[in-house]
Symmetry: D2
Subunit: 486 residues, 4 copies
């Protein structure tokens, strides 16, 4: 079987994007647009929940936003001036419709819908406790524990119950919650996953990235702060900070790969950061060459930065097909050992006889890098030098990013020399961790309170990892049930 | 809009059929066959859950068994030697996939799947109490309260928790439950809804009707008794009777219409009972006529009984199409006021100039009877006499049968004379309630402890009706959420 | 694999039904109703073509009328006050959408749509000749040769070209043709396949059977006569008889099985004919027995006739499921050798210990009869006597009926004694050919000019069989192309 | 309604890509890969025909190659070691499955399948003549006339009949034909549309572009020459040149936009030509600016060329979403007048306060250019200068490219000054026609025998345009029939 996505298998995957709108006619239609702009954060499934002041409406579907939420009948069924939505990859929880968010429950206080970006790192322990006390889970999602903690909290008001619940969970969470009491947006105390607030006339909008504000024409107001709850009801906004303050640790990989280059994160242009990384890389790891070639499309901004810094011309040496398929049938034997280029193709006439600097954002398993280097060589490149716009990825993420188990991370197994051999490159270099912080405006990475979560590079996790410590990798923990729907 | 089901709108509908198999390779395939044989008991949705000793597998779908459960990929996914299934109409709970049974939950004791035929008549009160205590419901089905009562019971063993739960519910229930502890089949203390046990070598089979045993080649062993729990585990069968004994009150309408004529209920052939009803009707309400014509297909056995008793020839005066559609577009004006016969057609040459006795099983709204009488008259019948194989249906059912609200029941509004006028018949007669008991082998209906639940005819409900008394008809009680799936 | 249609495999299949309406608002909607009433004549595919005075509209689909032609969007797209339609089994021509009728072509004279019931018995020779002259066929249907003969005719007017074409074809054809010149209905000179004309105010309706007139409320006017062309244009009807007159030979099997019992054919009630056949069978082949049991549903009228003549009670000894599926997965081993009763089930309590007369309309391969007899024996029947309401089916039909090749016809291989053994019956009898004619009001079958085509019983084919003589069975003649569409 | 393709509406569309493989196990699977690489040439429908030496197999579907031809069941049904395929936009002929290519017909010589890139400019006149002589068309495609001309040719051998047919047609055609006599690839005498030949071991491959050779690992051998027929049978290749030689006129727009940048056309790298156009544009139309920003993705190579020549930095000022939808529902009023950026988004932080040179390949209606300029201004650009990598598009194409009618071409209505105002740019410039030829290695455009078809820029059509002269635009010429399939 051949696939048009040979290289995508070798990326870290952001698992979610969330988007909420409070106080707009046709809120669900705006959420559909916002989710479409966040589609790169999760392509497996999507859902939208709306509230019309009386009743909640929900539509969830496997697949992309387009195709599911650009249908008139779907959007018209999602009544109300408040709505939120979610796009997802699954990190924990099987891939089935009942895990697609927003999750919904009917509490004594009324309906409760929740969309979550992140990962609760003590979800399994909490779940076991709740089931022991008689709770019945409708999904295998870690997110559902929050709902049960709210439902069984001894506090009186819904907000107090919600804060009570959050104080029991550990890990990363940016949340948008809808209740008859209003919409609540919040981030965990470390602010690991992003969440921004925008405004369009009297409408308040929350989104994982600013590009989703752009698409609905909303202005970026500010980030929801780490540890902050923003409550919107009837046009009124209130801010709550129920947690003891700690230094924020937003995910540094959002700048490297996850966020779209046209997003603004913490007042910083992601595109500019990536160009700065490329420039820093040119300083740290220069090379004599004829062409700077980005691995499309994520390597482009860093490649421009590298080219401008080094003076070596930027060229499209790899052309990417815009048409994506799943798996094509392998034709006869003679084609079997030939490189198949369903998604990327070398620009042969350009590459032939040239010394090429390839720029990519990261190396995960290394399989893609190997194929790309081979493709360059088959096209006649004289030399192939690989430059990577992030430090070696050596550790798994437990905060909502789909990383392979450690044993499959190339950088966890090999040093840079070994990796160079593995991908058959003439040379290979990664930006240093201090260089990465430099591109973000810091002098270097602070030893004591580094400004970002960089655990995938350094192994320094900013929270405890209860489930991980107790259970090891979360394989099949909740797989008592295998469900399919017709 | 024209529909091929004009007459079906005017029947009482059994809301469910259930089927379970313990100890057979490919149990899910046998359940699919069994449910197909029970399809007449519920055509809206179907589901099968299997257990392979380690994991539960579930597939649920809107629509018929055929088309959903005759697919290789579906059945192969339902591993295990134990499985149960359900076909449904909805009486309470909206029509959506999350209400399709078997319902499933993960309890502290492991997976728990439940298939229910009947209706819990205090479900709404129980649900409100449970939510107040922090329970989160995944469906709007009355059946789910049983699961939550089990989950939150203070008893220790699963069986004790299950019995504890049943003691809190009121109404009608035949249940098949699957747990890692084995399969449990049970009936409410009055045995309102049917449930039979069969055997095929070492395999134990439970089914709503014996026809479903026939289809898998199992022998009918006996009925599960009212108030009995039968537990099957590893080939061992045990019987439990946790309830104080009360006189059984099985539904009499199963003999009139719900059960298939080839089923055996309580050791009685349904076909023979229906013929006996027809014969009794010929004695109670004779008429001079040329032809006995059944309203197909449910009126056929009673019509044969009537014809044999009266000596008037049995003839197919109404032909039924086997091809069912949904709604055809109305053609131009000229056809508008003509009777449209998509499903039934008069056998004109036979009817012309004849005195016809029509035999039907029941009259609900009366709209069908009116159309059928008109069809006979348009075909040239000299006289049209209607004879009904049940007493007038004057009361709603709260035990799992979809009856219209009382105000729409023709017999709740008019006496027999008024009904005769309404349907434009030359004469109309119903079998008497004592005549009906007589056809079932009784001398007459006992005043004190009648042997059947006949509340739809007599208004004497054998249980309290908590929700009904508190809330009136169960419209939209749980409709906080409107969900659709893609 | 188990199927709910085990017995249907063993019937002769009528391959087509046609229906046309001229001069009615929403003609296509009326055609959909008419085709639904003719669904028993072909369930593989259906099509409707309409003409709005300027443009032809066509919708064709695999599957039933309901599900395809009860959709608002489909019918609304079929503009115009004239429309015709077709339901089909395939006898010649592969099963693909391009063979679904009405076929359409753009001729020099304008659009030309044709719906055909029957079979052109020299189609292959004509097709070869036409291709040699440069014709390009769009289907593998025998019907398309008629269009090409019209297109290439040397005559001037469309009617003359059409008659010229018909004079070159041989075999059976009832046709409804739509052209800008009006609607043409015609039957071959022998009138092998049926076609009736009806009237509803100013609308003219053509149909394969009168039941399709009933469904739209049209009155039966008369049969289109053998060899007659009826042309309807602008409300004017004209009749043409371009062929030399020959004695008509309508298909006798329409009375035995194909037509619905509530149809009137040649002024005879099909139901009455079938009862007369049953009565005649009781006279020719009496038996001491307790019950007359029809094989449902086609055996019912003859069984009523047999019961009334013999005085043995008519009883429903076999119950048929109304729910049809395709193929269920076989469960585990223990069920493998058990009779599976997905579609028919024995009414055991009735059958047990009784001597049973089974009545069926015909025996084709005999496999069904064998299973039915076994089912009766397993249910405890003391004796099983089979009586068949037609003579032994010994010969293939080449006039549009799907018969198995001769070698598979049980009666072509065995005499009645051998057949009795094969199906394990205590006795077996067929009505005689003269008895069959008697039930149709004749004294006996005429030796010289018998009144019906009875070739399937007698082997006397009323036309030459050019393709058959030249090529043998029409397997894969046109199978140069295997097409599927997405 | 909002669409993610706002800018694509404003491109010329290549209407077809073709691909053929002779002599490879699993030829159809290779064709699927090849068509996927040619998907940019036609996204409306696709088809593959294979030949297994005895029978032809065909699958055609609306939509992309992926999703239709990456399915195992589809490819496995397309047996044989020879196959060809087609991707299409419709220029003439309605959008329906019967027009999807390859078209197929059964001729006296056996099966005949044809895939066509181009447009027959006298198809309507030929069609009318053929229908008058009795031909029946199965499609409304111009391509079908070729088949009928072959079928009715008076020549004896298939090759002679095919050449006879081609001599009667006028216009542009690159064809791949499959017959039992072998595969034929040919180009019209002017070679307007491209067609290349490749080789992989003993397998011969034909494709519209070399990228499709790359994807299957075949080596580029040479272009099929204008006026050449290449016949492949049993591994043997023969070349025929039946036409009087004329100067070739390949389409110049292939270099501007249609072909993928990684294709080699006539031994020239398309990417290099586009960079040369950009460089020439920088010489012809320089501007003081801070950034060179491509309109993604087609403007990128020319933008790199412009940036390198001018020394102004190349930057990604517009980010394109990779997720494509159809039409989203417009949310409430307040969003109505805001620019909606479903597919492209400005990189605001980069653009703010900068003087921007936008590079696009062409301007068709100008609506896109207007939106892009506005997007830049809203993002805060100080100046917006538009540079176009082709001369003004002033004339329709009649050779298989979907151009709007002339009245809608912005350059047909306005001079460059008017266009500058229309798109609200600070300046606008197009490359000159001589500059374009220069980028292709010519000194300038030759007055007498220019080397390319540049009719869309110059209005000089290299062939007669019979249908155009007789009928005007080809609207609804063949729309006697409106067909839909189920």
């Amino acid at each position: 079987m051949l696939t048009t996505n040979p290289f995508d298998d070798d990326k870290l995957r952001e698992e979610c994007g969330i988007f909420g709108v409070s106080g707009m006619d046709g809120a669900a239609a705006a959420v559909a647009l916002g989710l479409h702009a966040l589609q790169h954060r999760g392509q497996e499934a999507a859902g939208i929940t709306s509230f019309d002041g009386r009743q909640f409406h929900i539509h969830r579907a496997m697949g992309h936003v387009a195709g599911n939420f650009d249908r008139d009948d779907v959007i018209r069924g999602l009544h109300g001036d408040t709505a939120c939505g979610h796009v997802r990859y699954s990190t924990t929880g099987e891939t089935s419709l009942r895990n697609v968010q927003p999750l919904y429950a009917e509490l004594a206080s009324g309906g409760f819908a929740i969309a979550h970006n992140g990962n609760i790192s003590n979800a399994m322990r909490l779940r076991r406790d709740l089931i022991r006390r008689g709770a019945i889970f409708q999904s295998t999602s870690d997110t559902e524990v929050i709902i049960h903690l709210v439902a069984t909290s001894q506090f009186r008001t819904l907000i107090d119950r919600f804060i009570d619940a959050l104080k029991q969970v550990e890990g990363a969470y940016s949340l948008i919650v809808m209740t008859p009491e209003g919409m609540i947006a919040c981030r965990d105390p470390l602010g690991i996953r992003p969440l921004v607030m925008g405004k369009l006339d009297d409408t308040i909008v929350f989104a994982s990235e600013t590009v989703a504000l752009d698409v609905v024409g909303a202005d970026y107001v500010r980030d929801v702060e780490p540890g902050e709850l923003v409550i919107v009801k009837g046009g009124e906004i209130s801010s709550h900070k129920p947690f003891a303050p700690v230094g924020a640790r937003p995910c540094i990989f959002e700048y490297v790969y996850f966020s779209r280059p046209d997003s603004i994160s913490d007042n910083r242009s992601v595109y500019s950061v990536r160009k700065a990384i490329g420039a820093q890389l040119a300083i740290e790891a220069p090379v004599e060459a004829d062409l700077v070639v980005p691995v499309p499309d994520s390597g482009v901004p860093a490649a421009i930065g590298y080219a401008q810094q080094s003076g070596i011309p930027f060229e499209l040496g790899i052309i990417r097909s815009h048409y994506v398929g799943r798996t094509f049938i392998q034709p006869g034997d003679q084609i079997r050992h030939l490189g198949v280029k369903l998604k990327h193709n070398a620009n042969r006439e350009l590459i032939k006889g040239k010394r090429v600097v390839l720029i990519d954002d990261s190396i995960v398993r290394g399989t893609t890098s190997l194929k790309i280097v081979q493709m360059m060589r088959e096209a006649g490149a004289a030399e192939v030098h690989m430059r990577i716009a992030s430090p070696p990825t050596r550790h798994s993420c437990f905060y909502g990013v789909d990383t392979p188990e450690r044993a499959k991370l190339l950088a966890a197994k090999l040093d840079v020399g070994g990796m160079t051999d593995f991908i058959h490159a003439d040379s290979l270099a990664f930006i240093s961790i201090d260089g990465l912080y430099k591109a973000l405006g810091e002098a270097h990475r602070a030893d004591i309170h580094p400004k970002y979560c960089d655990a995938c590079f350094t192994g320094e996790y900013p929270t405890t990892l209860t489930d991980q410590d107790e259970n090891g990798p979360p394989t099949d923990q909740f797989a008592l049930l295998h469900e399919r729907v017709g």
